[in-house]
């Protein structure tokens, strides 16, 4: 099956010589929910940014939704992101000046096409009837649901989630993770999530552990306790 995200020996070196990613290779097939974990500074955010085309890799090859983004120009890359990729960030990244509905319709306002009606998507993330509310009046959990709705509305091939539950309590966080899980299972969306929370990672199908910019483990996701155990192991070796 065609991978929605495919990294081949991807490296990312920052201007001062820091090597954040070392020849990382990773394939995410459609419908798979992948969690990337690692200590602070292990390169997990850089991995997500490079895979999503938000940051430029300095070595290797990145394919996103079937297209080689390595040589894609900025505008074309942005259009690819708009049409085929969804994002969920820890800090929500909604436009506080717009309403819930306007935020979800944003990709269309920016020239994209909506795969599903805004109201239907809002209904599916549990925000039915809140379309006209200003985003500023919502709770954190509701805001993150808006972000998920905005990520889903274009019918993306892949969703990138950067600590999506980092600012939420466990119950609210679980609801957001449930939405991502559903997107993977029902809509066959590939999900690549970066997190430091073993409980959040336990919702995934596959767990990738990073240390010093290298993949040190890649396999089916075990139980949360076992994840925490493995994570401690990786960090201990790193320290």
């Amino acid at each position: 099956m065609e991978s929605v995200v495919s990294l081949t020996s991807v490296s990312r070196r920052y201007p001062r010589g820091v090597l954040a990613l070392r020849e990382v290779s990773l394939d995410v097939p459609a419908g798979q929910f992948v969690a990337v974990m690692g200590a602070t500074g292990s390169g997990k955010s850089t991995l997500l940014h490079c895979a999503a085309g938000l940051d430029r890799r300095t070595g290797g090859r990145v394919r996103l939704a079937g297209r080689d983004v390595t040589r894609l120009r900025e505008a074309a890359l942005t259009r690819l992101r708009r049409d085929r990729v969804g994002f969920v960030f820890q800090s929500y990244n909604l436009l506080s000046e717009l309403t819930v509905g306007q935020n979800v319709a944003l990709p269309a306002r920016l020239g994209g096409r909506l795969a599903r009606p805004v109201d239907e998507v809002l209904e599916s993330v549990g925000l039915g009837g809140l379309g006209r509310r200003p985003v500023g009046e919502l709770s954190g959990g509701q805001r993150q649901r808006v972000a998920v709705a905005r990520a889903l509305v274009t019918g993306p091939a892949v969703i990138f989630a950067d600590e999506p539950t980092g600012a939420l309590d466990p119950t609210t966080g679980a609801q957001i993770l449930g939405l991502l899980r559903t997107a993977a299972d029902l809509d066959r969306v590939g999900v690549l999530m970066v997190t430091h929370d073993p409980v959040a990672a336990a919702w995934s199908d596959r767990l990738v552990l990073l240390r010093d910019g290298e993949v040190v483990a890649d396999g089916p996701t075990p139980q949360a306790e076992a994840i925490a155990e493995r994570l401690r192991g990786v960090s201990a070796v790193a320290a």
Binding site: L54, R82, N93, E97
Partner: protein
């Protein structure tokens, strides 16, 4: 808190500092004109001739206009700078600062910016006044014996105007964030209030109505009095338009929907930023209306009477108007830049949501077009209300006349100013990768 706020947001105080500096320069220059005219060693006949020409009266009028303009524009920029701090104010309130303490620190901030800006503006005004007086002599408006003199009161008067107005503007802007409960203030800074205050609308309507009534009264007066009162009609209308600004912009927003998807996004955004944008609308309207009234009046006079006004008279009028219009234009420019800089993060979020750099910039251009349109329409209305009775009183006509090329130049100038204040800083802000800005 003061030092922290100044260090953290040096940009947001650049605007007030620039307008304070220019205000001090304008007040100083016009005060020095008075001193130069009054102190010149003239023979009795020469002095009589100068008094008869009305030039000393015009200098007094210049001082008054400068002071009024400074109060208005410095007040507007200072209060908008403080409004950008609403979140910080809410935070220090939450950790235990009393409302009085917040007000004291806001006042100290205003003074801390205003005093050095004024001290820089006064020498600038001396230079400008020197050049201005040179023009008077060169055009034969005053005899060559009139030499440049400093006005003894320029420093205290300039300080009083800028510091006083800054304090007033800052304190008025701080009333709400310092008085409401911190939790409410924090929530509000996250989600700006959309409702436009009833008091605000009422004051706006009152001022505009007052301007119109005054203007109707002027139409029946003699030409000289009408001339001098015309300025106050314009001032009342412009301040009124400023109070009504958010409502006006929100009324203009639906027009953006005609510009397609990008325009609709711009319209939605504009409606929310209407309050902050009205800080740019007041000086913009003032600048355009000022220029429109002076130029149209001169053109109509030439057109109706068939004789162009003497070059000296034209220079006198245009030099004054030029100074005020540029002052107001600079204030408008800085209000627009401040707003765009405050929205850097939102621009980055738009990029993350799939907006290309060009698309995101197009949203800003659409917003700018709506601001330009609103400012031009409001300024044209203000200019018409000010000018028509004046034309009737002096030329006995109701029909203004303006060459098409001048009109086009005016529109282009306004458009250029607004685009420079919005698109340029937005384009610069968009150069950074969005993920770095939004995180």
């Amino acid at each position: 808190m003061i030092r922290q706020a100044l260090r953290r947001n040096p940009w947001s105080f650049l605007g007030p500092a620039a307008t304070q500096c220019l205000a001090a320069a304008l007040v100083t220059a016009s005060l020095c004109l008075i001193a130069s005219f009054g102190g010149a060693p003239l023979s009795r006949a020469q002095r009589q001739a100068m008094t008869d020409s009305g030039v000393p009266d015009i200098a007094v009028l210049f001082v008054m206009i400068s002071i009024y303009l400074s109060i208005l524009i410095v007040g507007v920029t200072m209060s908008s700078a403080i409004r950008h701090q609403a979140r910080d104010i809410a935070l220090v309130r939450a950790v235990g600062a009393t409302p009085a303490r917040v007000r004291r620190s806001v006042a100290a901030q205003a003074a801390l910016v205003a005093v050095p800006a004024t001290l820089a503006g006064v020498p600038l005004g001396i230079l400008g006044g020197h050049a201005w007086l040179g023009g008077f002599v060169r055009h034969g408006i005053v005899p060559a014996e009139v030499t440049f003199r400093l006005h003894g009161g320029m420093l205290p008067i300039a300080l009083a105007v800028t510091v006083g107005t800054s304090l007033l503007g800052a304190l008025i802007a701080a009333v709400r964030p310092s008085r409401v409960r911190p939790a409410v203030a924090l929530a509000e800074s996250a989600a700006p209030r959309l409702r436009i205050g009833v008091a605000r609308t009422l004051i706006g309507i009152l001022l505009v109505t007052g301007g119109v009534v005054l203007s109707v009264l002027i139409a029946g007066l003699d030409a000289d009095t009408a001339d001098q009162a015309g300025f106050f009609v314009m001032l009342a209308m412009c301040v009124g338009a400023g109070f009504l600004g958010p409502a006006l912009l929100r009324a203009a927003a639906p027009l953006g929907r005609l510009l397609g998807d990008t325009g609709r996004l711009a319209a939605d955004t504009l409606a929310v930023h209407a309050r902050a944008l009205s800080g740019a609308l007041v000086p913009l309207t003032l600048a355009v209306a000022f220029a429109a009234v002076t130029i149209t009046r001169s053109a109509t006079t030439t057109h109706v009477t068939g004789v162009p006004a003497p070059a000296a008279d034209r220079w006198l009028e245009f030099s004054g108007t030029g100074a005020y219009a540029s002052f107001a234009a600079i204030a408008a420019l800085n209000a627009l830049v401040t707003l765009i800089l405050a929205r850097r993060r939102n621009l980055a979020v738009t990029r993350l949501a799939g907006g290309t750099r060009g698309r995101t910039l197009a949203v800003v251009v659409c917003e700018a077009l709506m601001v330009i349109g609103t400012a031009l329409v409001v300024a044209a209305a203000v200019a018409a209300v000010t000018l028509l009775p004046l034309l009737h009183a002096t030329l006995d006509t109701w029909v203004p006349w303006l060459p098409a090329s001048w009109l086009a130049a005016g529109i282009a100038g306004t458009a250029l100013l607004v685009l420079a204040g919005t698109v340029l800083p937005a384009a610069l802000a968009l150069r950074r990768p969005p993920i770095e800005v939004a995180g």
